[in-house]
Symmetry: C2
Subunit: 423 residues, 2 copies
């Protein structure tokens, strides 16, 4: 008998009707002969509403109490979901993160999972019941306090349970059919991908694609859990995310390229005329780190003239651009640069594919496609299975479409676009 | 150092502003040199909203999941209250019923407290923190499931904690100044009572007065906990409810009469011409019990003629009147009565006072007052410290006022009436 873990996000359980629809889907999975464990997020905007309530009390809520408060959202949805399943004739029981054995560090708001001991879940399954577990939360064995898991916590809960229970697969339900070869909203001919490796998924997610949290994919990769991303609104089988070592198990054609991601959330800062001596880069990036900004791409111009200076460009989230700019300006004399430029109208487009390792000519195909589309390239960065280019933000759709077509990713018809961010 | 337990109901924590006001009051109690433990209900109408949500899913929610759902209300308010206190500079920690050691039976929705082991609360107090506990809930040590305590559960949580911690007193905060000598809305000259015994409070509550739940008062009486009923909106010291054995500790004048309660929730059924043989009453009340109705007063007419029949009247909650009437009619032939009458326009007025035991003349003063007010008495029932009369519902205000005045309970001025039911 196979064991399936399913995760349903807030938009899938936004109201009573959605909850009943999800309950039917869970029952269908059970009736097909599987053991089923479900993790669920809070209904709709409940978490945001609870956070607002906390901020009506105080601008800086105590972390322990904040976690106690926001975890009620998942408790509400899990109890309602279990109620719905029971009313349809199947046994179901809900469990808090603590009851499910989700043990974490004690950093409230950003706890890490240290162990999963799902004894009560296992017992429920042995008794033929469906187990519903509150996502996004756990308990710290040190303090015995309830904790929340931070960004990507709900997906990670599902993957962690799947790993601990030895599940055959972990299905992440969302409001789109799966992982697409590009964002259908800017590349209408994007197609749903049948299967891709977790390392490709990680690169896509890191490059701006919004389907799975990096954290959850990373956990799945480390623990060998097979993920499936699918829609809770249709019967499409979704996208399988497999461990690279298990690529042969999945009967898909060897695809060179998995997909095209884009990212419009970054800005570029260029420090012009930096003294070309050891320590210059360290001084600049030390300042950036002090501001708490994560840097994405760095390009230091290759020196062509022996004039003792160079230019350094880097990209970072737009939200940090002003603070970092001011910090660098504040250290102008110490850093000794000539000029500082901020460009917040950039966009990044990335091509991702495991096949890049063994295929020659990917770069030339990419650059030819961009040339033919009249798109100028501002910055380039690469990894083993990814090539990213930075161009003007308003050219990102054209660039993405050109690359998508050049690599044979276009579908026959336009993809159906659902409301939602594809999260 | 004294230890005080405080309970705040839903209307006292209805919104962020109220929560902050309650937080200040708790801090004032702490600053006065006390250890403070607080139990809190869900904000405003939250519990009703959660129940409605459950009924959107199914008309008959699974009991285990229902308890998991509704207990989130108290978790939300306790976390917000702890947050508010911390933001004002004092240490506070919230605890679920389970974390506070509230152990119960496993009947979901109506669990009884079997033990209270508040180890973590004691530790928090020793570390100088204020402990906030979710009311109305506990955990069953058998099933490890979360349970709710049914009617009066929030007040009972507070009393149970006070007993287990050996608190000096348990303050129940509500939206009126305390227990009154009568409902100020029908007896404007009602006064706040400074102190009365728990047995008098029990009789008043059982007779219709809406201040404390019988269950909580009974628990306090058995465990020797001193209760104080007071307003969360004013500084009035409230009403002390003491154990009868400790009456001398409370410097109040020996009052013969505590107060006057009224009850408009009942109906009267009269079975006329019942065969006056053994078993007649049993047959009738067996039917009533089958309908699940609780009977309040019973009067069987004293036989004056030797005609072999008698009349039996009884009162019960209006909500059961129709079903019981139909049940009796359905058994007309078997019961062999002549006529069945239903009167849903009755009202009951009760006079309660420990001094009744030793004071002669209470009955005559009562009946003279009603006679002078032109009020006809329909039924009479008595206990050691209570006399109740049934009359027409529309005469209840006049009756209550007449009795109140006749026993010297009237205050100098009219009582201030707050919004709320005085619960």
């Amino acid at each position: 008998m196979s064991l399936i873990v399913q995760k349903y996000g807030g938009s899938s359980v936004a109201d009573a009707e959605s909850i009943r629809r999800v309950a039917k889907r869970i029952i269908d999975t059970k009736r097909a002969g599987n053991d089923v464990v479900v993790t669920v997020s809070a209904m709709g905007d409940t978490t945001d509403e609870l956070i607002d309530l906390a901020h009506e009390i105080t601008p800086i809520p105590d972390p322990r109490e904040f976690d106690m408060l926001v975890t009620t959202g998942e408790r509400i949805s899990m109890a309602l979901l279990a109620m719905a399943i029971k009313s349809m004739g199947y046994d179901a029981r809900s469990y808090t993160g603590s009851q499910a054995g989700m043990l974490t560090t004690s950093n409230h708001g950003d706890a890490r999972i240290v162990d999963v001991t799902p004894g009560r879940i296992r017992t429920a399954l042995d008794e033929g019941a469906i187990a519903i577990v509150a996502g996004f939360q756990g308990v710290s064995p040190d303090t015995k306090d309830i904790t929340t898991l931070g960004r990507g916590g709900s997906d990670t809960t599902a993957v962690a349970l799947a790993a601990a229970l030895g599940a055959d697969k972990c299905e992440i339900y969302t409001d789109v059919d799966g992982v697409f070869t590009a964002d259908p909203r800017i590349v209408p001919k994007a197609r749903k991908i049948d299967a891709l490796s977790s390392e490709e998924t990680l690169e896509l997610a890191a490059s701006g694609a919004k389907v799975l949290h990096i954290r959850a994919v990373e956990y799945a990769r480390r623990q060998g859990v097979t993920l499936v991303v699918r829609s809770s609104f249709t019967n499409d089988p979704g996208t399988i995310v497999y461990h690279p070592d298990r690529a042969e198990e999945f009967p898909v054609e060897e695809a060179t390229i998995a997909g095209v991601a884009h990212d419009l959330s970054q800005a570029k800062i260029t420090v012009v005329g930096v003294p070309d001596v050891p320590g210059s880069a360290a001084a600049i990036f030390g300042l950036v780190a002090e501001q708490g900004a994560n840097i994405d791409m760095i390009v230091q111009n290759v020196q062509t003239q022996n004039d003792g200076v160079t230019d350094i460009s880097f990209t970072l989230p737009k939200a940090y651009a002003d603070a970092v700019t001011r910090a660098i300006e504040g250290a102008h004399e110490r850093l000794g640069y000539e000029q500082l430029r901020l460009d917040d109208q950039i966009g990044k487009v990335s091509l991702v594919g495991a096949g890049m390792r063994s295929n020659i000519g990917v770069s030339s195909t990419l650059f030819e496609a961009l040339r033919d589309a009249g798109i100028n390239i501002d910055m380039i960065s690469t990894s083993e299975i990814r090539i990213s280019i930075v161009t003007r933000a308003d050219l990102v759709p054209d660039a993405a479409r050109a690359i998508h077509a050049a690599f044979g990713l276009d579908g026959e018809s336009e993809a159906v676009v659902y409301a939602g961010t594809g999260r």
